[in-house]
């Protein structure tokens, strides 16, 4: 339970961090909150030569409005998702998801950018970037770019991030008056990884849904948008029949993994139950 020996470098700027990574021959890991990385090092699932601490890089901090987006700095801690007024006002789905992320002491350290980069398919925040149509800002040796959440999650713990790149911020479209959101998950115990979880963001005219994005987590190798299910809901209001149709459509969107503990049929059932509850709430005003 002790990490293999490594060298440690505390970077003051993004350039220093990128330079250190390159000079370690990419046998390096960036560390921010470390709430997933430190256990991985302690269990020797990972053993880099160099750990680059990015938590003192001020460019990665802060939450502010920028154009039609809320720019959430990569180092924003999970607990700040609960305490930061701009998050509550302009990204309320993240505010609603935050209490479900791990335990309070983990939320005091873990960072939003770190969670998105880790891309754990059972984590809340990566899935919420999909529901929010967020864009992930990445910096690396070849410069800076923005990747849509839809294109970011590639496979199990695999993202569009290339070696030596790091997330600088996540851009979330500002929440609008004609939008509604819902978040919920089913877990055996509070704070445990969810058996299945979901976040959704709908744009409405009165009771009619003009657009909706629904994203599940703990259902496969990546956070998963259920586009077929979304399509069944667009253009109508959320009556009982429409919700039932959406629940039925879920089977075409989700292929839960084989698992003795949670068989695919059980997970699909739980996803349907969760979707039904959440759409009911969304119809009642979100």
């Amino acid at each position: 339970m002790k990490a293999r020996a490594f060298s440690y470098f505390r970077a003051a700027t993004i350039d220093q961090a990128l330079d250190a990574h390159a000079r370690a021959g990419d046998d390096a890991r960036f560390i921010a909150g470390g709430q997933s990385l430190v256990p991985a090092l302690s269990l020797r699932l990972q053993a880099p030569r160099l750990l680059i601490d990015i938590t003192h890089i001020s460019e990665l901090r802060g939450v502010r409005r920028e154009g039609g987006y809320l720019r959430i700095g990569a180092l924003t801690r999970h607990c700040e998702m609960l305490s930061e007024p701009l998050i509550a006002e302009f990204a309320p789905l993240l505010h609603a998801a935050a209490p479900f992320v791990a335990h309070p002491a983990i939320r005091n350290r873990g960072t939003f950018g770190g969670s998105v980069a880790q891309a754990d398919p059972a984590s809340e925040f990566p899935a919420m970037t999909l529901a929010l149509d967020a864009e992930i800002e990445i910096v690396g040796p070849s410069g800076s770019r923005r990747v849509k959440a839809d294109d970011f999650f590639v496979d199990l713990f695999e993202t569009a991030l290339q070696p030596g790149e790091l997330i600088t911020a996540v851009f979330v479209p500002l929440f609008k008056a004609d939008q509604r959101f819902a978040f919920d998950e089913l877990a055996r115990r509070r704070g445990d990884y969810a058996l299945v979880g979901c976040g959704m963001l709908a744009t409405c005219t009165g009771e009619r849904i003009d657009d909706i994005r629904i994203s599940f987590f703990s259902v496969g190798n990546t956070p998963t948008r259920v586009k077929g299910t979304e399509a069944t809901l667009i253009g109508s209001s959320l009556g009982t029949e429409r919700i039932a149709a959406a629940q039925a459509a879920l089977e075409g969107d989700l292929v839960p993994p084989d698992s003795d503990e949670v068989p695919p049929a059980m997970r699909l059932h739980l996803a349907r139950v969760l979707l039904g509850r959440m759409l009911g709430r969304l119809g009642a005003g979100g």
Partner: protein
């Protein structure tokens, strides 16, 4: 601020000097980068009230306050805490801020072996500093990352609930 010195890569086991303020006192110690904060506190500083349990952030026995917030001392390396202010169960005890919680844990038998107790107290202290009158559900939620294999939790929830009531009835003055 200096940039990256490539010679750093040559000897990963070389110790580095870190400085913290621990329980109000400035200390410096030599640590290998891979040494966790909990090991540093227990071995170098002999503050053994912080317990190393699962060493992977699941059990909550190693909670300390880092810059005023409860964190797992097993989920960070001591080098990451360079420059920080750390309060362990020893410091919180000496300052008296958790004296009422400790007395209530004692009175209600909210511990048996006591291994989890320092982490429970650090967590309870943070909860009550944020929420004046948490519900029993709030208390259970807050304790979801603290394992106790002896008590079944009921007495721990009772103790925290009782302290929250007593503090709010005395006007929040502790």
């Amino acid at each position: 601020m200096s940039g990256f010195d490539g010679s750093l890569l040559d000897d990963a086991d070389e110790t580095v000097r870190v400085r913290f303020t621990v329980n109000g006192r400035k200390v410096a110690c030599e640590v290998a980068p891979r040494e966790t904060l909990v090991d540093c506190l227990r071995n170098a500083l002999e503050l053994t009230g912080t317990h190393a349990g699962c060493e992977m952030g699941a059990c909550g026995a190693c909670l300390v306050q880092l810059d005023g917030k409860a964190v797992h001392a097993c989920l960070m390396f001591a080098v990451q805490a360079d420059g920080a202010t750390i309060d362990t169960i020893e410091g919180l005890t000496e300052s008296g801020v958790i004296a009422d919680l400790q007395a209530e844990f004692h009175r209600r038998n909210a511990l048996q072996c006591g291994f989890c107790t320092p982490g429970m107290l650090v967590n309870a202290h943070e909860l009550l500093s944020q929420v004046t009158r948490p519900s029993r559900k709030d208390i259970r939620d807050a304790l979801s990352g603290n394992y106790c294999r002896c008590t079944g939790y009921e007495a721990i929830v009772d103790a925290i609930d009782a302290v929250a009531k007593a503090r709010s009835e005395s006007g929040g003055v502790t």
